[in-house]
Amino acid sequence: MESEASKSLEPLAAQQLRRRIDPDCLGVATTADLEPVSQLIGQERAVEAVRFGMAIRRQGYNLFVLGPSGMGKHTLVRGFLRAEAAAAPPASDWCYVHNFEQPDKPRALRLAPGRGSKLRDSMRKLAEESLAAITATFESEEFGERERKAFQALGDEAQQEGIALVHTPAGFAFAPLRGGAVINPEEYEKLPEDERNRISATIEQLQEKLQRIIRQVPQWGRERRNRLKELHHEFTTLAVDHLVAELEAEYADLPQVVAHLAAVRRDLIDTAAQPRQAEGSAEGPDAGGEQTPAWLRRYQVNLIVGQGDEAGAPVVIEDNPTYQNLVGRVEYLSHFGALVTDFNLIKPGSLHQANGGYLMIDAHKLLMQPLAWDALKRALVSRRLHINSIGQMMGLVSTVSLDPESIPLDVKVVLFGERSLYYLLYEWDPDFRELFKVAADFEETVDLDEQTLRRYARLIATVARNEDMLDFDAAACAQVLEHIVRLSGDRHKLSTHMQSLADLMREADHLARAAGRTTVDAASVAAAIAAQERRSDRVKLRMQDSIREGVMRIETTGARVGQVNGLSVFQIGSHAFGLPSRITATTRLGSGEVVDIQREVKLGGAIHSKGVLILSSLLSARYAREQPLSLSASLGFEQTYGTVDGDSASLAEFCVLLSSLAEVPIRQDFAVTGSIDQHGDVQAIGGVNEKIEGFFDVCRSRGLSGSQGVIVPASNVRHLMLRPDVVAAVEAGDFRVHAVATVDEAILLLTGMPVGVPGADGKYPEGTFNRRVADRLQAMTSVRRDFVSTQKPAGEST
């Protein structure tokens, strides 16, 4: 056991700390020599799911594409959908038209692709020609001329007699003129009596004529209206009937359209043919700036979905999935202070646009929009699209609105989102699992082998070509790939995070161009990585400064009892970095409790508390199986002021607790990370690279001694992908990384004492670390027993 432990005390070799990609293994000089790849690498499961989801045309087989953002999910699925859609039949055109029987319930018409716009144009032409013909009819009719002429003639006759026709508030009157103005009473009295009589008689005659004219006006109006009706009937027969008939012939295969045309014809005759004052000045609502009389607007066609010249089924990406953007809306116009609308103001939503094809939506954005998720589910469940105004639904708008006829919905919805979102919806929304039966789960890593490396090199070539970058030489490709390996968190894997790959390539390309290079080389990639790091390492540097300046105490030389360097990872935005933190322990006589100071002050997370409980259990199991554990211990992270979580410090905490108990000093030139189980085995932790680098940076700032190093779990060795400068220091013997599998190995490294294994009698050998711990606990138990017996009243037995 001891010898096995000694074997692992050797530090890891430099080649175990970072995977190097040999540029020669790519087999090309630059990416110009590589063929592009057509799809993402390592996403076979997701691709299969997407293909399946697209192919199956059953209700509820919509897709949820899950995985972290930046994986290239949209790109892949969009590419698949477009390819699939191109081969699919184009979707129908949809129009809304006026419902002559129930004007508030516009009718929906379905037409073959491309015929919607034709119908719209035909109906517009019909309306324009009708307008032109009606205008001509009105212009040819001397509209009201008879009345005007009669008044004009009477006025002229009066004028000849020196009499004026005066407009009064309620009618007309005649008055004698003098000098162009009505004679005043004083002058009138001065006129000779004959003249006054003549004037009086003339006015009386004129009044009778005026009276006759006025009494004839209603009759003339009636005659005019009747004549107009006749004219309009004639007009509709001559001017409109044949237009409608032409359209009826053209759309004879569509009974719905024919029925609508028949209604248009009837309405033109019955309503539009009425004299124009029936409409008055009330123009209809007009969203497009066109001035079309209201009575003609009703014959128009509102083409809400027209497929145009595009072949295949539609693929729609809804980037702003509000309720209205999804299901459409009815707009209003303010017309002299009132809100008015008609079917021409019905606006389609993305579900309309995607009907017969595919709709892509970001799930998070969708769920953030009020009512949008429910609306989408309602549409998918009912398989019909119904436009409901939010204002009407909420009872916020009392103006008259429309209730457009719903239309059948046949759409494949593809949601994109994080895994957590998928599982939350699956757990809490029963509709979700019925409606999104296909999950396409994107892998975050792919196994690294030679074939994958070559495919990744082709992926680099593809991105470079698509984004018009310089070619990457083989060394640059290798550098990019090494970075991608590190991002995966596993030396044997490659990250599939396409955004990180593309970002690094863009930045390297930028730097290479700025340096006047013709290809992107390894130095450009290294500079881009360094620049990324530099842009986000302000907090890390400030914390390192405080360690270097002694504000935050971290010892990197010597040895101390009850103190060890732990390692933590800080995640600030997208940047993660590691730093050492000082963990201390004190022990005293007690009743077996281990106080987790972080937890006591509510700065410890549940997983950290779990780690402390496990180490307490391990302590009892190893050293106090036959006796009560008679100590109290306190564990704390010094100079930490935020929450500590995770169990990656439990190995360090166990070691420091034993150090305090055995009064054996721990080397301060080591930092420790790893979690432990109840049997003393060391388990893998996360962020191992950042942690090692964090301690390395602190040591380097004080000068590397060669004895400094980090103890990590052996099961984390596969995850090591350290920075080149750390690897170089290890190679030079200036720094070391040890991998341990058990607590005993860590203790051996930290104390330099033999740890000891129990003999046949169950006791640890003399002079070993474990013996010192066991003896100390034994002593504590004895003291406690004596103490308890002295505290009991006389006569009471123990």
Binding site: H167, T168, F172, A173, A175, R276, S281, E283, Q291
Partner: protein, 258 residues
């Protein structure tokens, strides 16, 4: 719309015959004032002929709808005119408040057109109502286009801009009458329109008119059933006599740009 041209107008002067004004007459004026961003002044003109007539011993009127004779009494005519003006002023203030238009009103005595021309100042826009009685006014006139009489004069461009703004506000077409003997004018208008609206919409029609301008405009406006006619005061149609003739003959509102 050229804001520069519209900015010429400082005030919109609504001139109404006090004896025949109605609350609804002020609504368009308020909308137009809001559109132009100008203050609105209501000018209620009491017709001197009417007032003199009412004092004559034999004064009688014939009802515009009933055709019945009835005596006219000076006191009751004045009282009726006063009530009408009060109602119109009330509506003017209410509508102006709703549209946040500064408003004033004055009362004068004389002939509407003459008083309006006398009181209107340089850069005013005058809105004049027709003299035709309700029973004889062509029905449905408001459905017609806005007609602009465009001639080579100082305020022609401003008149065109106001006509265009009115057409947009009323959602109707624009008919531009130009003297047929001015061959370059139509081309100029097209250039101006393209500058203002980007293209020549089908609702804009340019119509050369032949003969004497007054009669030609009357014929064109009647034929098109123009809802309103916009004129430049500095043109040949800007005199009081011609304006009175137009108002009597056409039955459309006149917008006079000075």
């Amino acid at each position: 719309m050229s804001q520069m041209a519209l900015a010429h107008s400082r005030r919109l002067l609504l001139a109404l015959d006090a004896g025949r004004c109605a609350p609804q007459d002020v609504v368009l004026a308020v909308e137009l004032a809001a559109l132009l961003g100008r203050e609105l002044e209501g000018l209620f003109v009491e017709d001197t002929d009417l007032m003199t007539l009412a004092r004559l011993p034999f004064a009688r009127e014939v009802g515009g709808r009933s055709g019945r004779h009835r005596p006219m009494l000076s006191g009751s005519v004045e009282s009726l005119v006063k009530r009408r003006v009060e109602r119109a002023i009330g509506e003017l203030e209410r509508a102006a408040k709703l549209r946040n238009v500064p408003v004033r009103h004055t009362t004068a005595r004389g002939k509407v057109v003459q008083v309006a021309l006398a009181q209107g100042e340089h850069q005013d826009v005058l809105l004049l109502h027709p003299f035709v009685a309700a029973s004889t006014a062509p029905r449905g006139g408001a459905a017609g286009p806005i007609m602009v009489w465009y001639e080579d004069c100082e305020d022609a461009t401003a008149a065109l801009d106001i006509g265009l703004a009115l057409a947009r506000m009323m959602r109707t077409g624009l008919l531009i009458g130009v003297p047929a003997n001015r061959l370059g004018t139509e081309r100029d208008i097209r250039a101006l329109l393209v500058e203002r609206i980007g293209h020549l919409a089908h609702q804009v029609r340019i119509q050369p008119v032949f003969g004497a301008p007054t009669e030609a405009v009357i014929d064109a406006a009647r034929s098109a059933r123009a809802a309103q006619i916009v004129l430049a005061a500095s043109g040949v149609l800007g005199s009081a006599d011609v304006l009175e003739r137009l108002l009597a003959a056409i039955g459309s509102k006149l917008v006079l740009v000075r």
